[in-house]
């Protein structure tokens, strides 16, 4: 069921990509919009960033790829696009879980996706999505922060 959902989403994405052939990475993708929360693992620092978009796509190996747009961990950090690849799917409709550990994320640099340095590894990645409610919840640890995201699907 989840695969059907993603295939449909991928089909939509593919159509969107066709419409923007000149742009290999299009932002106009069906996804989720919500709030990013960041807590420092040491100390009381806590930030919230609203109106952040996340997308889910599927790679050629069938693994799930999470695209995190306009991501920042602290207010002074310029926003960037981070990509979390190689997520495994568990569960059954309508609720699915995405798992991953010790993931090296990618980031966008102009037209390219480049791997982050090993020191920016993502650990304890967990995500739950409900295809019926259209919700996505994500948590992971990266660079000394616990990052959370709660989003609703963009219709």
């Amino acid at each position: 069921m989840f695969r059907k959902f993603l295939l449909l989403a991928t089909a939509v994405l593919a159509c969107t990509a066709c419409q923007t052939e000149d742009e290999p990475f299009s932002y106009d993708q069906v996804g989720y919009t919500g709030t990013l929360t960041v807590r420092a693992l040491a100390g009381d620092t806590h930030y919230e960033f609203s109106d952040r978009n996340f997308d889910l796509t599927q790679d050629s190996d069938g693994k799930i790829v999470l695209w995190m747009y306009d991501t920042q961990f602290v207010p002074m950090m310029p926003r960037m696009t981070m990509v979390v690849p190689g997520l495994a799917v568990e569960g059954s409709s309508p609720r699915f879980a995405l798992r991953g550990d010790a993931i090296i994320p990618y980031y966008r640099d102009g037209e390219d996706l480049l791997p982050m340095d090993a020191s920016r590894r993502i650990d304890d990645f967990e995500a739950e999505l409900d295809t019926q409610e259209g919700s996505l919840a994500v948590t992971f640890v990266c660079m000394g922060f616990r990052v959370g995201y709660a989003g609703t699907q963009i219709k």
């Binding site: 806590h46 960033f49 480049l114 982050m116």
Partner: protein, 773 residues
Amino acid sequence: MKSIRSRILRLAGGLLLSLGPLAVRAGGECTPADRAIDTVIRVDRVQVTAIKQGLILGDRPTAATVIGSESAERRRIDALKKVSTLAPNFFIPDYGSRMTSSIYVRGLGTRIEQPVVGMNVDNVPVLNKDCYDTDLVDIERIEVLRGPQSTLYGRNAMGGAVNLYTLSPLSYQGVRLGAEYGSGGHCKFRAASYYKLEPGLGMAVTAFYTRTGGFYENAHTGEKCDRERMGGGRMKLQWRGRRGLQIDNTLAFSVLDQGGYPYAYAGETLRDEAGRPIIRPGEIRYDDPCSYGRTAVSDGLTLRYDAARFSVSSITSYQFSDDEMILDQDFLPLSYFTLRQARTSHAVTEDLVFRGRDEGRYGWLLGAFGFYRHDRMQAPVVFKKEGIERLILRHVNSVNPNYVTEWDDDRFTLGSRFRTSAAGGALYHESNLTAGRWRFTAGIRLDFEFARMRYRNTASTGCMRYRIEEGERIPDRHKEIEIDNDGRLQLDFAEWLPEAAVAYRIDAGNLVYLSAAKGYKAGGFNTQMFSDVLQQQIMKEYFSVGAQYDIRKVVTYKPEKSWNFEAGCRFSLAGGALRGDAALFWIECRDQQLTVFPDGTTTGRMMTNAGRTRSRGVECTVQASPWRQLDLTLAYGFTDARFRRYRPGLRDAQGRPVDYAGNRIPYAPRHTLAAAADYTFAVGRKWLERIVLHAGMQGAGAIAWNERNSLRQPFYALLEAAVRFEHRRYAIDLRSENLGGRRYDTFYFESIGNAFVQRGRPRTFSIALNLYL
């Protein structure tokens, strides 16, 4: 353009020398009435002045300070900045260059773009705020009107209006020569000839040249950075016909070439990687040139016809300015970025005023105003080596140590060109009704404006991204950065501006009033933000870092509006020996333009209509003449101006949004104070008539330097003293300002996270000789 200005300045100096042989009809005529303390305007019927306020300013329910010709002459008031603090709650800090005319009135003010105080010279509105700071020769009268004057003067008079009137050749004839020399290598020369060609036709020609070596040295170049040369002149024609027709024409020009921007570093010592100091606290040390040059020409034609029951006046003007500002924007001996802003401005204004002439109970005024202004501006920002490293590559290269990007060149240019035009008009009306001792005033103005901008932004540069493998740099990808954006923006505004007042005249010299008036500062385009927009665009499009700015949201700003409520009085006691005025005021201001700091950007700031403020306070002026020889003056203002709402988009250490509500508004002083005593010795000799001793003090503060109120300038007082030898044919003036050598700061700002201040002027001495032939 600079070499042209130098040639013109030399020409102005030569012109001064050639004015001596001009016809001299009579010695300067200055009656004892002219020397009376200048609170009451003596408006001669031959003068076309005060067209909107009427003949006696003291009758209006407005807080007003008047400085007459004798006060202006004795205090050497030859520029608008010299009026600062002489009117209570009226503050003009002296910093930057003559392009900077930041005026703060009752807590309202602005550092950029549209002003809050309108300036009118001989009834002609000066549209370009960058031209406010110019030398004025032979001022007859200065009126500082506080509180919104928007009903009569329209846009950009939200805080008040300053009316300057120059000497009339129909009330004064003769030749006036002046020479001045003082500290900082300052010298000034002026020459003026006033004469009547016929009984009703007068002509005045004035010229001036001023040169200042400067007070502040740029430690990097070893030269004074606040040097200045300025020259200019004015030709005024006035004709009075027998059938009620009057014509005035004033042509004025000025040319300026100055260094400017003596900003001293105010942070901890900056050091390079080897630990060597780059700049120490208190030093002025920057490596790129800073300068400001301006050529301004204006012509104002006033036609007036006095019919039996009304008068009609037409005030037409053409205003031209061409200026160029060059700025080392980091003010450090490091190559960050520089700006060159060159603007050419043309403007025309027309004001048609109908005014009732009946002396009866009802008085009225009806007017129509229109203007058109067209500007062309180029404002390229050159990013240099340090700027590229620290403002762009630092963000890019911090993401992944396995990749490093290097710029192709050690500099590139963000080019910006603009064409802006604004046109507007207004209809206005004011009525007043006198019923016994009561006088009721009401007015309304409909002000509308259309603003357009065409812009074109360009950048052409490149960089190489390297992949780091086993310590080796391997070329990974070369990026060609090409930007060529153009677009149009437009804004339309319309505003009703009402006012109402009631006054009760206790007797001839005493009056109390209540008033309420709406003020309005026009919206427009903040062109300074375009370099931020371009920088963000490069980061986002080519490095996927940062957030893209919405140009319209970032560059345009809405009008600010205010409501001013005031209770005041004017008094004259002991037969006029004690007189003055006082006022209490409360101002609510909405949509105030403030700086905000959006998250996740690389430039870190933008301007927006984010604020609500309120300002309340009290002000008074007192003039006393306990003896014939002694005149005492005092002007005091207190303003408590604070934000009601201001969320700048910053976070504190715990990540909570910062809120500046309740904080003091920066740059506006809490107190202003001016006090003076003048004692006149009547000598009565043929060669010397009077000796006037002057002692005074001007002060301002405390001034908050930022919105978070973490830094401030405490109240400071500057002592002044002068002795003046007067004769009807000459005056010799010895003067000292900041006699106590008080150290204070006039301005504070931060650039790329570094703090800078401009110090106030040190103790100065000067001597002046004036001849009246």
